[in-house]
Subunit: 583 residues, 2 copies
């Protein structure tokens, strides 16, 4: 199997033995910047303040193994069976490809860390764990209950067998996955991860078994990131990860502030506000956050004008299928945003729950037949827009992934990827907060995505979801084209995610001069409820609630309702708008 | 079935129709204070500043149903089948017994809430949820994935059938509990809680199905608490609950501090420190936290002497089987502590992971044959020491319960019980942090403790655990009596929990005048490792790390190792102490 993603070009280059000094320099430059989408074309660096001298590393003549699913299998085979008993320590370095180590390390972020984060000390009880390796030692140390007192003897779940993912097929073609209490001891059901481990206490970074899968998956999809000391850690989902990240990087006492899209995820605003972290909006367009707008906001920041808020050092962004606008940043947009952040030394929180809900290009008329869907996992990965993580030469990105939108939200399970320093601080906090995700969730997800499906099966599941969401999006767009007054309501067909953002041209409202946008929004919302459709008011998502809205919007989702219901709902929405506008 | 707990006596009184003015007054006084252990003897109130005028409520002549398992069953039957679809809102008021409402409401704690907690606004997106009740409404609102895209079709688990709880019995007498994706729609497997609900997003307070069980269980065990507006909320475990509670009640900017046992759970210290919350120790004895010590610390508080820390308004305590000392506060001790807190207006964080690991009284010689073990759930509940929650007339207790020690830690699941105001602030925080516990953990625990076992089965499981831990404790105590030098090492047989706290008489050390306690502790610890036993250094648990230790201690646990291993380990510990003391 060949290399499976072109998202970050250095992998192509690294996977071929450099044969000349020039090739080596190219490989090295690429590893630093990796701003090219095409494996063959290397763009000139437009990064302002990357420390070349510090980061210039000559790649050796040894070609690393290419990053492929087969390569991961080979690496696992070489490493032998994973031995990770109850509460064992692990980190991504144990599972990463050798390629990572040829790169420079991430920058340090001490100047960003909050007082709270800086003062975290490692868990004192964990200091004792190092003695557990001593042969014959009996521990009267940790207060871990004995597995013999766990009243769950075994679990089993029925899941689809790739590529038969359709819900109706599971009964006939599905597989039963079993997990016993002592599978490791007894060498049953894979013998790597069992209930005696999963139901006991674990490390906050996550169980080694699932951390291995997450680390490998991250490399397959993104690169690995173009610096050496990246790591993953499991999370209780991206909501919790964002709160921890804000507490790590922002400090109320410093007057810290965060930038984000002009319309942003309202829960993110509700997370930041009680921490005393002010949030400011950046202008957006059909591709989401504008890099030039970001540059201008940062270049012209005036603390007095901004009510005493310090120039933001943190950007929170949802690059794919942004909530609420549904906008997706293209590859060049992401490069430009990264460049601006690098120039202004801004740390990036890349929240990507919808990354794998990138859909087929929309062709109009409710159809997506512009290009054929990807047929192989390799083609699927090539179809994905490169992540900010994959461009992150500095280690200034903390990426948040989640199983919520692509497997099940009820797992409360996701992961972050960032530099060792950032991940270490994150884990220190998790140890005294969530203690990491549920072990029950972890073992079920591990059994599903690793043992039952493997990397290839999981990518095929994502390909299945891609078409599911394409179909749903096409259905809502067809309904919009049919039922909405095009002179009043406009939208950009979303390229990813769950949301369609409908703009209503308030300037045409008969009472436009007398009523505010918020008042017209209120009228339409009430009329929608009256007619039997719930769409979310756009004003609820304004980053700066005290600034007048720039337009009149409603957020709709195509994730939940059936296609028939969506059509009915959009028809009702159209009627509500017409009624409000007296048409 | 009769009334099943004497922990709070007013239930007895309330369950009998008051026949005279005197009886009514007794009932009322008891409901206010409930300081008596015996249902027949009402102690004079020793509470200082309870606002009698405000709280004096005359109980009506209608006798409420007694709080029994049968009563809960009757209430459920009357209420009909629980209908709680995806992400539905619920609170304990839906599931409480009518008795609660006859009591006065809890006090308000606005003066304690931190700036962070006070500034939390309700989740704006949840405002939209109220419209979902409108018949025929189609929601394009919440971004909840469709259950049709969940790749888990069913789960099943094998669990013991009460009273056959022994691990070896599960294979033959256990039961298989099944959970399908559409059980509610299809009326299968109980038809109350299925994967379509559990695997989707839920409310941070927890799923209604499990919240109902937790609320009922809390009433069965504790009372209910002696004020009207108590509520429960699920948590991701008590570690996370403690962090949220500290962020709610303490404010770095105010110089807030917390009191706790002189030796306390080290993770609690590591939780508080980064928040800028200083922790101060209260003297303890064989029954744990001393009420007179607490009173003295509070009465003589001097901000200057305490490095600028404000007189603490929060007490963090582990009343049963305290970590690390294993000490358990008796009933009178708890009453005294509550009285002191009430007098000094101190809020109590009652952390009770080991409450149900109360054991049989130790009889010496490795045996616990002083009294026979409880034979019925009613007798079991009567055997438990009353909780601070059950005495909480003011609503000044936030109690933390956890499934970690009594079911499985890997569930990351527990609950809090407190006043409506405190629980509401807690949930507002959880919504932007963990979002509540894993839905997978919730549905498995619900199926286990509600559908498979029910309240009675669960109490019988706890009775089984009581004897398991009694056996383990007796084994380590027998080893101590056999192998430890009694003139050098002393201990109090623990009445609850997982820990045995061994005090070594450092004054007899040959180098007592030359070496500090910490140095001798270090010697013994190193010698223990050398001889093959890990015991945890007592100094790690000091509430005030900058204060010299008051004695030389080691924490050992009897929860994890086998009985043979425990004996070997204690023998090695004894050898290490003798070696250090040159005996």
């Amino acid at each position: 199997m060949a290399k499976i993603s072109a998202a970050t070009p250095y992998r192509i280059l690294l996977s071929r033995p450099p044969t000349s000094h020039l090739t080596r320099r190219l490989a090295s430059a690429s590893a630093r910047h990796s701003f090219s989408t095409s494996p063959r074309r290397l763009q000139p660096s437009n990064v302002g303040n990357v420390g070349l001298a510090e980061k210039d590393t000559i790649i050796g003549d040894q070609a690393p193994e290419p990053l492929t699913i087969e390569g991961i299998k080979a690496r696992r085979a070489k490493a032998g069976k994973l031995v990770a008993p109850t509460a064992s320590y692990s980190d991504s370095d144990m599972f990463k490809s050798p390629q990572s180590y040829d790169k420079p390390k991430a920058r340090r972020w001490d100047h960003l860390l909050s007082q709270e984060s800086l003062s975290r000390e490692p868990c004192v009880l964990k200091q004792a764990a190092k003695y557990l390796k001593k042969p014959g030692l009996i521990s009267l140390g940790g207060g871990l209950p004995s597995a013999s007192n766990f009243p769950i003897d075994s679990l089993s779940m029925r899941v689809p067998t790739p590529p038969h993912f359709a819900e109706a097929e599971v009964a006939s073609t599905g597989q039963d996955v079993r997990i016993g209490k002592y599978d490791v001891r007894d060498g049953r059901n894979g013998g790597v991860y069992d209930l005696a481990i999963a139901l006991n206490y674990g490390q906050s970074v996550g169980a080694a078994q699932l951390l291995r899968w997450v680390t490998e998956h991250t490399e397959l999809v993104h690169g690995p990131p173009p610096y050496a000391d990246w790591r993953c850690a499991l999370t209780v989902g991206s909501t919790g990860a964002l709160e921890q990240a804000l507490r790590m990087l922002c400090d109320r006492a410093r007057g810290d502030a965060v930038l984000t899209e002009e319309y942003t995820f309202s829960t993110a605003l509700e997370t930041a506000a009680p921490l005393g972290v002010r949030v400011f909006g950046v202008p957006t367009d059909g591709e989401g956050l504008r890099a030039d707008g970001l540059d201008e906001v940062l270049a012209t920041w005036d603390e007095k004008e901004r009510g005493g808020a310090r120039r933001p050092r943190v950007l929170y962004t949802v690059p794919s299928g942004q909530n609420p606008t549904g906008a997706t940043q293209g590859a060049q947009r992401r490069r430009d945003i990264y460049e601006v952040c690098s120039r202004h030394d801004v740390f990036i929180l890349e929240d990507e729950p919808y990354y794998f809900l990138q859909m087929q290009p929309y062709g109009g008329g409710g159809a997506s037949n512009v290009v054929p869907p990807p047929e192989t996992p390799e083609a699927f990965l090539r179809s994905l827009i490169p992540s900010l993580l994959s461009m992150d030469t500095d280690g200034r990105v903390l990426r948040m992934d989640s199983f919520s939108k692509v497997v099940v939200p009820g797992s409360r399970l996701g992961w972050i990827t960032a530099s060792e320093q950032v991940v270490e601080r994150y884990i220190r906090h998790a140890e005294v907060a969530s203690q990491g995700p549920s072990g029950i969730s972890q073992v079920l997800l591990y059994k599903l995505v690793d043992e039952a499906w493997g990397h290839e099966g999981y990518l095929r599941w994502l390909m299945h979801l891609r078409l599911e969401y394409t179909r749903r999006r096409d259905a809502i767009l067809a309904a919009c084209e049919r039922y909405l007054p095009r002179d009043l309501v406009s939208w950009v067909p979303p390229a990813a995610g769950m949301f369609l953002w409908l703009q209503v041209d308030h300037t045409q409202h008969p009472q436009a001069s007398a009523k505010s946008i918020l008042e017209i929004e209120d009228d339409i919302f009430a009329s929608c409820i009256d007619k039997g459709v719930l769409a979310i008011r756009g004003s609820w998502f304004r980053a700066e609630q005290d600034v007048a809205p720039s337009g009149l919007f409603f957020r709709t989702t195509f994730a939940a309702a059936s296609e028939d219901d969506m059509a009915r709902a959009i028809e009702r929405f159209g009627a509500a708008v017409r009624e409000s506008f007296g048409r």
